[in-house]
């Protein structure tokens, strides 16, 4: 067992197919639909193999999280020079991607699963989900924010706090609402626009037009 750098356990293709079925069951029917017998039936494998591969049920859940995290890769092309417009575009793209990811079926199902399991102490699922699922998108945003500061387009003391501000402006309580079963937004792009405009008002160095802040036509 190596250090915790970037060693994905990387399951076999067969195991990945099984994990895919597991995710499907979880998305379709929630935690109660994800039983060992049901998964074995759906994936055409034996329960014995499940226990051999993943240890026990919690190991299976952890493997599902790792498997899903491995699928979501975020590109990091940060070569170009930043202008104010470019920064805004990238921030809005990030915001849209964030909203899309959070509203995804699999993401919601896994978060519900981990949250439902987060009461008793020995539940590493929550931590696992935060680390694996969030690290990618966090790093992308932090890189973008840092770049904006180095380019003189953003100002802040604490990059972490600035990122949390951006996150809050973009997501607000939408994530929890969706986790509780409410439908998502009708227009992610509009929400992204307004959130980024507010963020630039707070942390941008250039005067903002404040158009998208609240002085536009109907809601």
């Amino acid at each position: 067992m190596r250090a915790d750098t970037t060693d994905m356990p990387e399951f076999s293709p067969r195991q990945n197919a099984v994990l895919e079925q597991a995710l499907r069951l979880l998305v379709e029917g929630g935690e109660k639909a994800l039983t060992t017998s049901g998964l074995a039936r759906a994936a055409n494998c034996s329960k014995e193999s499940l226990y051999k591969w993943f240890g026990d049920r919690e190991g299976l859940l952890a493997a599902m999280i790792a498997h899903q995290a491995a699928k979501v890769r975020t590109f990091e092309r940060s070569g170009e020079r930043l202008t104010a417009d470019l920064l805004r575009d990238h921030l809005e793209l990030f915001a849209r991607d964030l909203l899309e990811v959070l509203a995804g079926d699999v993401s919601l199902a896994l978060n519900r699963l981990a949250i439902g399991q987060a009461n008793r102490e020995g539940s590493k699922l929550g931590k696992l989900l935060l680390e694996h699922g969030r690290r990618q998108i966090d790093r992308r945003a932090m890189a973008l924010i840092d770049q904006g500061k180095r380019a003189g387009l953003l100002r802040f003391d604490n990059a972490d706090a600035a990122y949390h501000t951006l996150y809050g402006l973009v997501v607000s309580d939408l994530h929890v609402r969706m986790l509780l079963g409410e439908p998502g937004l009708k227009d992610n792009a509009r929400q992204a626009e307004k959130a980024v405009a507010a963020f630039l008002t707070l942390h941008g160095t250039q005067k903002q037009s404040a158009d998208a802040l609240g002085v536009s036509a109907g809601r």
Copy 2:
């Protein structure tokens, strides 16, 4: 059965005591610890009584939410004239209260319960929790924000959007993180300060000192 105005079912004292025990079990051991047998044993009542009072398990959960919501009452003293400083104080008090409520044991446990149950269709728990648990605090904030606008201290198009902005600035992703098992903030008051400062920068009519925005010492 009347209209859905404000008619709490209002359980008997005995039933309230049972619901209190149910909440205790839920907080201590999560959903899996809240079994009918366990509750009957803990509350010194019979399973038959449980089913007679609450119908079935979901009815019990709904009753728990209603019972908890009935305990959290928010005061609405809105007589005094608002000044800028007073508005800021009230906003910060609201933010601190919001953070405190969200971080509460019972709130977290009930949210985890409803979220874990929110996958399959027939789960009214999520909606119930949002309506009962959120309505009080939402109305308090909306009243405050409206008052601020009427006093000429705030400007915005859409009070709802402005409230969501405030909520996002205060809470960010903290709620989800706590639901996943992370510990809460060390200093709610500081977070409330910074969030309200940012909110006033966005929607206040007076120049903000920007002191608490990010140019202060330490993280």
